[in-house]
Amino acid sequence: MPKDQGIGASSKRREDVRFLTGRGVYTDDLSLHGQTHAVFVRSTVAHGRIKAIDTAAAAAMPGVLAVFTGEDFKDMGGNPAGWLINSRNGEPMREPKRPVLAHGKVRHVGDAYAAVVAETFQQAKDAAQQLADDSDIEELPAIVDMAAALADSSNRVHDEIPDNQCFDWGWIEDNRAAVDAAIKAAPHVTTLELVNNRLVPNAMEPRASIGEYFPGTGDYKLTTTSQNPHLHRLLIAAFVMGMPENKLTVVAPDVGGGFGSKIYHYGEEAVVLAAAKKLARPVRWTAERSESFLSDAHGRDHVTKIELACEKDGTFIAFRTETMANVGAYLSNFSTATPTFLHGTLMAGPYKVPNVYVNVKTVFTNTAPVDAYRGAGRPEATFSLERVIDKMCRELGLDPFEVRRKNLLTKDMFPYTTPVGLAYDTGDYHATLDKAMAMADVAGFEARRAESAKKGKLRGMGLSTWIEACGIAPSNLVGVLGSRVGLYDAATVRVNATGNISVMTGAHSHGQGHETVFAQIVAEKLGVPEASVEIVHGDTSKIPFGMGSYGSRSLAVCGSAMNRAVDKIIAKGKKIAAHMLEAAEDDITFENGNFSVAGTDKAKSFGEIAFSAYVPHNYPLETLEPGLEETAFYDPANFTYPAGAYICEVEVDPDTGKVDVAAFYCADDFGNVMNPMIVEGQVHGGVGQGIGQALCENTSYDESGQLLSGSYMDYAMPRADDVPFYNVDYSCQTPCTHNPLGVKGCGEAGAIGSPPAVVNAVIDALHRGGHTHVTHIDMPVSPSRVWSAING
C-alpha cells in the first residue's frame, strides 16, 4: 500500500492551494505605501551609438519624479559573468562590462538605456515615450549571424573585442590529437550539421522588482523574481552597487516559473534600488510580456558540426564537435558555463566511447543575452549525440535500439570516468532502455504504422538515451573549472517550543513543490506529521545562506543540507533526552519520533524534548545549551547523473507537414524518489518544453537584429493539443552513491532527453514514407519545414 505521508508518498502539493485559488503573493501583487512606478526605455535598434539623450522634456512631464540614463550608472560595477573560461591558447575569455543601463552604445533590441520613475505607471509610460523620442541614437550595422560576426572584425558588438569572440574553448585539449587520429582511421564517419534553436524562457510570471530604501538605517530591500535571492544579493552588493551585504535584503516571494531566466541579476534590479534611494520611496517595475521577449536571457542557440566515428557494426570510436554558441550582446551570469562545462563534459553521453573532443567558440551578437535555460548545455549535448547516432544508423543500415544497446555503459562499469572529465557514480542504462522499449511496445510499431498509413499519415518512432550531470555542484571541482562561486547549500531546522518545525532552505521554489517534498523528508526523519513542518525560502533575512534552485540541485544539494541539519537536531535531541531520562547519551535511540533509553521502556516524545529545550528548567547549562535549532552546510562530492531512455512516436501529415506527437514514453533513473507525483509532474513539464523546442518554438531575429517572434502571435508555445498523454516510469533506480538521500534530480530531464526523440521520430516517419532524401530538419520541426523538406 502506498505511503500516505513522508518519503515516497505522493503527498499533494500544499502550495497549490494558494496558487490555484489566486492567493499566491507575487512581486506585482505587493502594494506599498508611497510606491512609484518605473518604466524602462529600450533600444528599438539592434546596434547603435548613443549620441545624446535629452531628458528635459520627459523630466518636466506630469508626475515624473526622476529620469535615469546610463550616465547615472557609469561608475557602478558591471554585472559579472559567473565563470571564467580560458581559451585553448590559454588566454582568458574576453569579459566586456555589462552596465546597469546601456552607456555609449545599445547592443540589442530591448537593451535598456534609460528609465523614468513617476507617480503612476501611465505617467511613467508617457514620459518614457517622450524620452525615446528625444534620444539620438545612430544606428550601426547589426551583428546577428555568428559566423559572420567571427569573420568581420570591422563591425564589433564591443569595440574592444575585435572578432566578437568571447573564447575558443577545447575540451579536453589534450584529447584533440588522439580524437583526430581516431576519426581519420575509422571505418565509418557520420557528419551532421545542426542548429540548437534559441528559446525564449516564457515564465508565466514576467520579471518584476520592487526597490525600497530605508533612510533611517541605510538599508535596502529588493523584492524580485529570483530563483536564488542570496546570489542576487551577492551580485548586487559586491559587484554592481558596492554595498555591504548586510545592508541589502533580497526577497523572492511566490515566483511564477523561471526555467533559468530568473537565476540572473538584471540591470532593472539595480535601477529600482538606486531610484528608491534617490526618492526615498518604493520603486516598482513589472515587465510587460514584450519586454520579457526582448530582455529575458534566452536559451540554447548553438550551431554545431558533430562527427561520429565508428566501426561498421556501429561500435563508437570517437565523437568530435565544433560549436558556435551565441552569448548575445552581454555575458549573462552563467552564460559562459552553459556551453562549456554544462555541455562539453556531457559529450560522451551514456556511452562507451574512448575518444571525445569538443570545441566551442562563444560569439557576441546584437541579440538578447543567452544563458542557462532548463537543461542548460545538456540538451544541446544530448541533441547533437542522439541525432548523429540516428543518422549513422541510417547510413549503415543498423537498428538504432541495438546500436544504443551495444554502446551503452554496462552497470558493472561504475564508477566510470569519461574521456571528458566526469565520474559517473552509478547507473543502469540498459534497464531504462529495456523499460522504455517495453512501455512503448516497440514490437507492435509496424501495426500502428499501418493504421496511420490508412489515414494518409506517416508514422515514425524515435529514441533518445540521455544522461545529464546535475545536483550542481561540487565547489572544489567547479572552482578548478573557473566558477567564481561555490555551489554548496545551507539549511536551518528550527524546532519551535511546541514541537512544530520551521525549515529555512537555500533552495527557492518557483513552482517545483519544495514546500511539500522538503516537509515530507523532515517529517519522515523526525517522526512527526508533515503538517507540522513549514518550509521557509526566498528571503535573505530569514535563510542562513543558499545558492538557490537550478541545475536540478534543490533536492540533491539543498535537501542534503536539510538532511544534515535534521541529523544535528536528532543528535541534540539525544543530549536533551539523556539529561531528562538520566541516561548516557550513547544509550539514547531515536525512532518514530521517540527518544528512548535502549533496552528500557523509558522514553520522551519529540514534542517533550522540544518543549524542554525552550523551557530548560533544571538544565546542566554548562554542558547543554537551551534551544533546538541547527544549521548545516552541504557541498556535494560529485555531480549526480540521472539518465534514461525516451521513445517518441509521431504521425506526420505529408500534405501539410504537420507533426502530431502520438505517444511519448519516458523511462528515467532518478535514484530514490521522494514524491512520485511531483516527479511525474516535473517530467511532464520538461517533456512539454522539449516538445516545444522540437516542434514549436522559433526565436527568429532578422538581419537587422529585430526579433520577428516577439509575441505569442509569432512565437509558438506548446499548447495542450501539441503534447500527448505522457507515459512516465521511474522504477529503474540506482541511488546516487554520494548524497544521503540517494537522489539524483528530475527537474531538467524531460527537456534534455525529449527533443532528439521527437526529431528522430519525424525523420524515421519520413524515411518509412519513402522520403529518404531527408537526413535532418532543424528545430523547430514546423509544418512548413517538414513540408519543404519532403518537397525539397
Binding site: K658, S784, S788
Partner: protein, 260 residues
Amino acid sequence: MHNFEFVKPSSIADAVAALRQEDAQALSGGQTLMPTMKQRLAAPSVLVSLTGIAEMKGIRASGGVVEIGAATTHAEVAAGAGAYPALTALAGNIGDPAVRNRGTIGGSLANNDPAADYPAAALASGATIVTNAREIAADDFFQGLFTTALEEGEIITAVRFPVPERAAYAKFQQPASRFALTGAFVAKTSAGVRVAITGAGEDGVFRWTDAEAALSGNFSAAVLNGLAAPEDGLIGDLHGTPAYRANLVKVMTQRAVAAA
C-alpha cells in the same frame, strides 16, 4: 493605453452620431482593438460601443438566407446559426472561448484581418454586408489588408448569407497565433462554386477562380489534383513560404470540398 471617452448608444442612429466626434472609433468585441490600444498603437479619443444596440444582435433565418446582426458574437453564431452548418462550424473554431464570447461578426468583417475566418465565409457565400447606409456585396467589400469598402463612420449592422447547397471551411492554423495560416471556404450553389481563401494572400481574402471553374464542373476533391494554386501574391513569413502557402491553398480547398 491612453485615456479615452466611452459611450454605449442603444440605437444605430445614436452610434452613427457619436462616431462623428473627432478621433472616434467604433468598438464591437474589441478582440483586435483592445490589444492594439494596450500597445499604444491606437489611441482613439472616443470609443463607441456597438454592443448595446438590440437591432444589431441576433440571428434570423428565412427563405434560404441567414441574417446575422453585426454585434452577434462568434459563440452565438456557433450556437444559433444552425441553418448554415458550415458557418456555425467556422464560428465555433475562431480563436478560443474567450475570443468567441467577445468577438463579433461585424467587428471581424470591418477589421478585415488577412488571417480572419469570417471574410472567407462572406466572400465564398456571396454574402451581403448591410450597413447603416447601404448594402454592399462581399465581392466589393474586401479591398486589401485591413481595408474595406466602409466609409468613415459607416457601421456594419448585419450580414446576410444565402445558404449554399453544400459548403465547408477547412483551416490550417498558424502554429503560434492559431489564426488561419491558410483557410479555404468552399460554397456550392445552383449558380456554381465559389472558393475563398484567407490567411495566404498579401492583399487579404481572395477567390481561387481556377478551382471554382474546375469544381463547378465536377464538385470533387480529386478534380483539383492537377491544379496548382499560384504563388504570386501569397505571404512569405516565419511560418511558411509562398510555395508552402500555395500548397496549403490546394490542400485546404480539397479538404473543404471533401467535407462539404
